[in-house]
Point group: C2
Chain length 121, copies 2
């Protein structure tokens, strides 16, 4: 029963376009919930929920100032995303690695064709 409310991770957090837009806004400056809501065609409660999810992913942090709660960007968590991305970069940014990858795959394909359908040659 407990521990069932699985925290959101960075990948889920940025999956929603509204949340990505919120991050853009907060990159500019710290903003209250109402100020953020002003930029979107939805209710304050909806925005508050998005902020909660972004908080869980530690992409934003909020602090109470008087009666309002102001949020700011906490970009460090985006590093997890960058790390994940970096693994795949060898397959497209680095031309040599990419070429190597393609050639290796092509060889496998050829072997497969030879094995399963020799008439095609």
């Amino acid at each position: 029963m407990s521990a069932s409310v699985q925290k959101h991770d960075v990948f889920q957090a940025i999956a929603d376009p509204t949340r990505r837009d919120i991050l853009r806004l907060l990159a500019e400056k710290e903003l209250s919930i109402l100020e953020i809501t002003g930029h979107f065609p939805m209710s304050r409660t909806a925005i508050a929920k998005h902020l909660h999810i972004l908080s869980e992913a530690e992409l934003v942090s909020g602090r109470k100032i008087g009666r309002e709660k102001r949020f700011r960007l906490q970009p460090e968590s985006l590093d997890e995303l960058k790390q994940w991305l970096s693994y795949f970069e060898q397959f497209w940014n680095n031309k040599l690695s990419m070429l190597k990858h393609i050639v290796e795959n092509q060889n496998e394909t050829d072997l497969k064709v030879i094995k399963t359908d020799p008439d095609k040659l």
Copy 2:
């Protein structure tokens, strides 16, 4: 009625951990649906659905070879993710930009406190 089946984008595609694992697998080599399924505790149909979503996001491409369909990584689409990330990098990787950002936000905060609660000083 038509055009309602909204295509998945890269952000949604990588939100699911199973799909991220599939991408890792396909980075190694081209694989058929059944070969991929062998790595996961779920049915072939479930994997096929994940592959369909990854295809929509153009992160993988599939081609029929005989009776099997083999998928390979198509990493170019990850560039959209990289572009998105790059906007935020100024706020944490570049120490100078980050410091500038923090200082600017801190100034705003101070002004706010002065304006709304002068007694606190």
